[in-house]
Assembly symmetry: D2
Homo-oligomer: 223 residues x 4
């Protein structure tokens, strides 16, 4: 399982993080992780898993898996396929890719069976609590209205983080909580950890930055 | 654009066609295509595009693209990403991955803009005709009830093929028609072409065969 | 089939058009239609069909049907059910309720079989043309970005109306075209008809108006 | 809230339970409930709520609500609309109409705010537990593979009922549990209650029965 505290970068489908550009970011994170010892992971598009997983030592995640087993499912994301490509984990139920409740259950069961680490995204305290009932590795709470914005969830709505932590731990003390949405710098990371989270999930704060490396170094410095 | 007549193999998410197994099939097709001059293409899972595209000369297709542009679309399939990975084309609206009408329109527009070859799947004469209105490269008609079955569409329902061809050509004479569902051998390919199709789309007939190479050689021999 | 030219009001799920408020609007339209002879129809929520159909003579439409036959489909909208409730027609594929291509095909087939009048919504010239291939009663073109806005499609993008009319008639001359999005007054109706449409589909322009009756009278006066 | 123990009949979109036929079943249940004092409720199609709610005293439920507030949502099921039509409650997340996790959260919140009783369907112990985290009125556990079948969940998989009861009560002792799938007679009802459920949710066992009244009387006799 991911070493915590951890910074998980989700590169989404940004132009700045597709193909070679995804690999460049992964390589930068790998370098910083090696130098600083900070816990770091990167979630990339399915098409970029093989190349990233070959070239870096930090954990490479898929951004999504579908609730399927091998068979006739043209164009869907098979958990076995992301594992074969080199992913060691996956995001599930990201705010931009929400799943039906029964499908979250299937995805978590499949990830556990295949030994894929899994971060299940939630949008508030109630859904964090519901997800904890499945005993996943991680719940990552991200208020959708703050995703991609300028204010970190840790400043805009610190209670959603601390309340998610206590609600989740109340259901299953082994489940770890990450937080995300608007996270941009080391200060946000430090606050996240102070609120009880064991790391952050972020995207645009790094991917859209002019100097990705210095943002990543700042984030890592506050773990 | 794909050279026709053509055999397009969709490997779906079969265990027998994930990771290295997908690559093995692609390499076999590549060898046969080179030896025989037959038109062949393979559609693989997003995770397998890079490796297949690096190793073979036949066209590698994605099995699906989503109707998106670069941006915040965690876990969806970006047309630019499958192109960057080496795909030269894509299936769209496969029976196992149907899209909303407006999204088919967007996917075709995006594929054209990026220079991705595109095969739009339909399920009957009416939907073949509707899809032709978008002037795609290919329409592939596949009656869902025959997919994965033992009887080829060319025997079970030859009219759906010939009527799709005439309906499509009536709307736009430049659109080429493929057919699929239950296609398993060279005789089926020959019949498809006799019915006016310019090739076949198939999956289990090859992927589930014990001796994939001899099935592929038989298919190629009747183009 | 709807008498044309026609004004079709879609009351959506507005608070101002739920339950008794939907009935009040239907009664007002009924009165104006009787007095002026204008062609008018109202599409209401499934829950309001029975009451409206009992009380008014103008055609009452459903806002949507699902691509199902009677059976195990908890909570979906059965075409037979809207007909039993008194609807004589239905909208299909509204911009706020888009359907998969194959499902539009099923919905149209089911509507035809049950004798339900049907208006299929499209979002541009290409999708209008594709829908025409199914030979429905009506195609209603509505650019989504103008829906609910202040500028009528007939002013903001008259070409989308006239080009949809010619594209649709080219495929099937019997299919009638409506247009919508931002339509608010009689002038917009007159322009729609001048552009070749046989009526308009509108919603907020009436439902959100302080004086619904005078807006409706103005619309009717320009048919 | 529903008086328990309770028999909740979901009439789905069966031909035998559309329009007048839905009303006839509701009237029969109403008569039996009055005579026997048994707790009974009926969930009907949106189109049939008004008529049923006017004519019977037993609680009338919607089969589904969508996670929306009043506004521009053409053809979706507005919670306010089912309430205005006379429903006092609703099913949510039925196996034939599954919702995204975040949408279940919204639907429950909306139902609570409007004072609509709500039964959230689950498919196994894990999802029952997750749903309990939202503190709904009821969780109804129904293994999808047994729905519509000949063997009652209470015989085929009694553990799923008793384990759901304990998992749910562990999360929130106020949440009541129903069970369903294959329930057909009074013996099944008695067993459900013995397993800790406070009632049953059923459909085809009544709707498809030749003599609906005697099946309903048998069910009621074992509450």
């Amino acid at each position: 399982m991911l070493k915590t505290p951890v910074i998980v970068l989700n590169v989404k489908t940004y132009a700045e993080a597709t193909g070679n550009s995804a690999l460049e970011i992964a390589v930068t994170m790998d370098k910083i992780a090696k130098e600083t010892g900070a816990g770091m992971a990167i979630a990339v598009q399915a098409t970029d898993i093989t190349t990233c997983a070959e070239k870096v030592h930090i954990p490479v995640f898929a951004e999504h898996i579908d609730p399927i087993t091998p068979g006739s499912h043209t164009g869907w994301t098979l958990p076995e396929a992301v594992k074969a490509a080199g992913a060691v984990g996956t995001l599930i139920n990201h705010s931009e890719h929400r799943l039906k409740l029964a499908d979250i259950d299937v995805c978590i069961t499949r990830a556990k069976k295949l030994g894929l680490d899994h971060i299940i995204c939630s949008n508030n305290v109630s859904t964090s609590k519901a997800i904890a009932a499945f005993s996943p590795n991680f719940v990552a709470v991200e208020p959708p209205e703050l995703i991609g914005g300028d204010i970190s969830v840790t400043s805009a709505d610190p209670d959603i983080v601390s309340n998610s932590v206590s609600a989740v731990k109340n259901i299953d003390n082994n489940v770890k909580v990450l937080c995300g949405a608007g996270v941009k710098n080391g200060k946000d990371v430090a606050k996240a950890i102070e609120l009880g989270a064991e790391g952050v999930l972020l995207a645009s704060g790094v991917v859209k930055a002019k100097d990705k490396e210095s943002v990543l170094r700042d984030l890592a410095s506050c773990l």
